[in-house]
């Protein structure tokens, strides 16, 4: 079983096991275990400061975790070799690299390191977004800079694309263009995409898997299609009807009128808790946004 798990993890583009990390006394990640299957569009969602960027950096070997391990295409993240790096592209939240270069200089410089660099794609996208090759990166707006970083990442024709809040600085049209591009890449070349975001509608539009990071733990981790069958909101008239901790309970919220709502996780093949069928209680499926709000609050 252990061997199976390991073999499976080694085949996954991105995986981690029991990751723990903190800054000083503050625990950021506590026992994160994650597998991103090949060809998946994996959306990571979480509130500000939840540790999404830290998790991404640990997964890519940019930060050494306090505990646990992470792998990229089966290779230890802290010891990535060139064959793995060639198949990997990462766009940070606010790209600030090589700002003293011009757009064309930076793209040519970076492109020289990737055998599969698609120069035609770069020219096409720069023309479409009306970004001059002669413009200095430091003089571009944050949105333009993010677009250049995305062009750079996609031009490497990666097998794994990691995006940290890629749409944060983009306008709605550019966001839609990005999502279309991601969907196209996944469909055409089977690129695996791992991205973090605040914007739930983006996730709903393209993600095949979703994970919610809160309080240093992955509260939700499921394929998008299974979300409605796996998570539900149970609302009860009074807290007295339920035990202190219900099996599969993710969060509990007390309302001013005395009622209580809980988010319940149901394992495959299991039934919803019996208490959900008692008088005065309601059990309803949740949209991703509702689920996010319920768990975070």
């Amino acid at each position: 079983m252990v061997i199976d798990q390991r073999t499976s993890r080694e085949q996954d583009p991105l995986s981690c096991l029991e990751l723990r990390h903190g800054f000083g006394d503050r625990k950021i990640l506590e026992g994160i275990t994650l597998r991103i299957p090949r060809g998946a569009v994996f959306g990571l969602i979480g509130s500000n400061g939840a540790g999404k960027s830290t998790l991404i950096r640990i997964l890519l070997g940019l930060i050494r975790p306090d505990g646990g391990e992470s792998r990229v295409f089966g290779c230890d993240s802290l010891e990535l070799d060139d064959s793995v790096k060639q198949r990997l592209a990462y766009v940070p939240q606010q790209p600030e690299a090589f700002q003293w270069m011009k757009v064309g200089e930076m793209l040519d410089f970076i492109g020289g390191f990737y055998p599969a660099w698609d120069a035609g794609y770069v020219d096409k996208m720069l023309a479409r977004l009306a970004i001059s090759r002669g413009a200095k990166l430091s003089q571009l707006s944050p949105g333009e800079r993010q677009n250049v970083a995305l062009i750079r990442a996609l031009a490497t024709q990666p097998a794994l694309l990691v995006l940290d809040e890629p749409a944060a600085a983009l306008d709605p049209a550019a966001r839609r263009e990005l999502l279309r591009e991601i969907a196209g890449r996944v469909g055409e070349s089977g690129t695996t995409v791992f991205f973090s975001t605040h914007i739930v509608t983006d996730l709903e539009r393209v993600a095949s898997h979703v994970a919610l990071l809160h309080g240093g733990r992955l509260m939700i981790n499921a394929p998008m299609d299974d979300l409605k069958e796996t998570y539900a909101r149970l609302t009860l008239a009074s807290e007295a009807d339920i035990p202190a901790h219900l099996a599969g309970e993710l969060s509990r919220r007390r309302h001013p009128d005395g009622s209580v709502s809980l988010v319940i996780e149901r394992r495959p093949g299991e039934q919803w808790p019996v208490i959900g069928a008692s008088a005065g209680s309601t059990l309803e499926s949740l949209s991703l946004e509702d689920l996010f709000v319920e768990v975070i609050q």
Partner: protein, 487 residues
């Protein structure tokens, strides 16, 4: 005036650079004490007045260059934020500062019945030099303007046969016109689309940033494209300065990539050369002067030597260290790219490349530069028959700077120091102040402190010892870090 208004005025004065103007009397007192306490006054053919004047002029120009930068930053910020009435306020402040500078410098001369008209002329010229250097900051002309202005003033003050006070009178008339012309050019640029670039450049100049943008030539303003081309061609021919980016011949080895990312080993080689070898053309100019040896004697103990080496050098080296800290510490910066870029080898290869480019190569380069400067000064001091102690003291600032650079670099590489670590700033003070005291004490110009050099030696050894201890401690931590690209 209500307390709120007082706070606003205080803030305005601070942002306009009033502190720099307020330092001038302190420096004047130090200079007075220095020249008044000369042990062997007979060695010098110049009057204390002339020496005081020559000592103050570069400081006034330097202070006013900084103040001018503050004012430019205020003006540009105000334009960006559309704050009304700032130009009038700035004019008032500038006039006030100029009047205050002249008053505080003239007061002791008038009291001592000195040549106050001559002082007035020279101080005004120094102020204009500073303002001009500020207005040309970020171009190739700022340091040459400062040096030329200072040299002309000093020559005139010392009664040189080449530069007579009449030249200074002419310059004093011409300079306001030059300032007005430059202001007009800047205001036009401000109103056009170029204002963002100007704003950023001004801020960068004020903060003394050493980003690679400042050496690519792209962001540096020049008077004309023709002059820029000539200067660029000259720099390439003389120094081989070339990133290779434009020619598409980038070195993609690990060391090459780190070299590109860290930027060059110099911010302005031309400025360095000018700062280090400025005395040579001055001496040639003075070739016909009867008191050349005396002048060299005077110049050898001049505080500019210390300030050129210590201030320019340390500020530059600190900026270089901060650049490295930026590179390694900013998770959204180049570090992610460099860590994930294929073809750069494993962590050991990257580590070796980084250590070579960030530590060894700069140390060798700066060692050579500083050695060249010390050598040229040594030649001057030999010419002036200075004592061997003087020459030994001259080697102190460069060695301190190299030690400071090594210590801070290792601190950053080991992860103990960040870009804004207070250590970096405090260390600079540790080095600069003893350097100044050493320059004075080492040259034996103070007769009221016969044992000062002894005490300073002890202090200096302590500072060097502390730096060495830090270097060793952080070096051990650095050797334990397996992957320098991973935080």
């Amino acid at each position: 005036m209500s307390s709120r208004e007082r706070v606003r005025v205080w803030l305005w004065l601070r942002e306009a650079g009033a502190g720099w103007i307020a330092i001038l009397p302190v420096l004047e007192i130090v200079q007075l004490a220095l020249w008044g306490g000369l042990r062997d006054r007979g060695r010098y053919v110049y009057s204390p007045n002339a020496m005081l004047l020559a000592g103050m002029v570069p400081m006034v120009a330097g202070m006013w260059m900084t103040v001018g930068q503050y004012q430019a930053r205020l003006l540009l910020s105000a334009v960006e934020l559309r704050v009304p009435g700032v130009l009038r306020m700035l004019c008032l402040t500038l006039s006030g500062f100029a009047a205050w500078t002249i008053l505080e410098l003239l007061a002791p001369i008038v009291v001592l019945h000195g040549p106050y008209l001559q002082w007035l002329l020279f101080v005004f010229c120094a102020i204009c030099t500073g303002v001009l250097a500020a207005l040309f900051r970020g171009t190739y002309f700022d340091i040459p303007i400062l040096l030329a202005g200072g040299a002309v003033d000093i020559h005139a003050a010392m009664g040189s046969s080449i530069v007579s006070p009449k030249w200074v009178e002419l310059l004093t008339v011409a300079m306001p016109f030059l300032i007005a012309w430059r202001l007009r050019v800047l205001i036009r640029a401000l109103r056009s689309a170029a204002h963002d670039d100007l704003f950023l450049r001004s801020l960068a100049a004020v903060e003394g940033c050493n980003t690679p943008a400042r050496w690519s030539g792209g962001s540096r303003a020049t008077a004309s494209s023709g002059a820029r081309q000539v200067l660029t061609a000259w720099r390439r021919a003389v120094f081989g300065e070339n990133t290779g980016l434009r020619q598409g011949t980038v070195d993609r080895s690990p060391t090459g990539v780190w070299r590109v990312s860290l930027g060059p080993l110099y911010e302005r080689r031309v400025s360095w050369i000018l700062s280090g070898f400025a005395p040579v053309p001055i001496l040639i100019l003075l070739g016909s002067h009867a008191s050349t040896v005396m002048f060299v004697q005077f110049f050898s103990c001049f505080v500019l030597v210390g300030s050129a080496l210590a201030c320019f050098g340390v500020i530059f080296l600190v900026n270089r260290v901060r650049r490295l800290a930026d590179l390694l510490g900013n998770p959204s910066g180049e570090i992610a790219d460099l860590a994930l870029l294929p073809g750069l080898g494993g962590r050991w290869l990257q580590r070796r490349a980084l250590l070579r480019e960030a530590l060894l190569r700069p140390l060798a380069y700066y060692g050579l530069c500083l050695g060249g400067m010390v050598g040229s000064w040594w030649a001057l001091l030999r010419l002036s028959q200075a004592s061997i102690e003087t020459i030994l003291f001259l080697a102190v600032p460069p060695s301190a700077m190299l030690m400071l650079f090594a210590m801070m670099n290792v601190g950053v590489l080991s992860g103990r120091l960040g870009r804004d670590s207070t250590w970096i700033y405090d260390s600079v003070c540790f080095v600069i102040f003893p350097v100044f005291l050493f320059m004075d004490a080492g040259l034996g110009s103070l007769n009221w402190t016969p044992s000062l050099s002894g005490w300073l030696s002890i202090a200096w050894v302590t500072v060097l010892g502390a730096m060495t201890a830090c270097l060793i401690r952080w070096g051990i931590q650095l050797s334990r870090r397996r992957n320098l690209l991973c935080r």
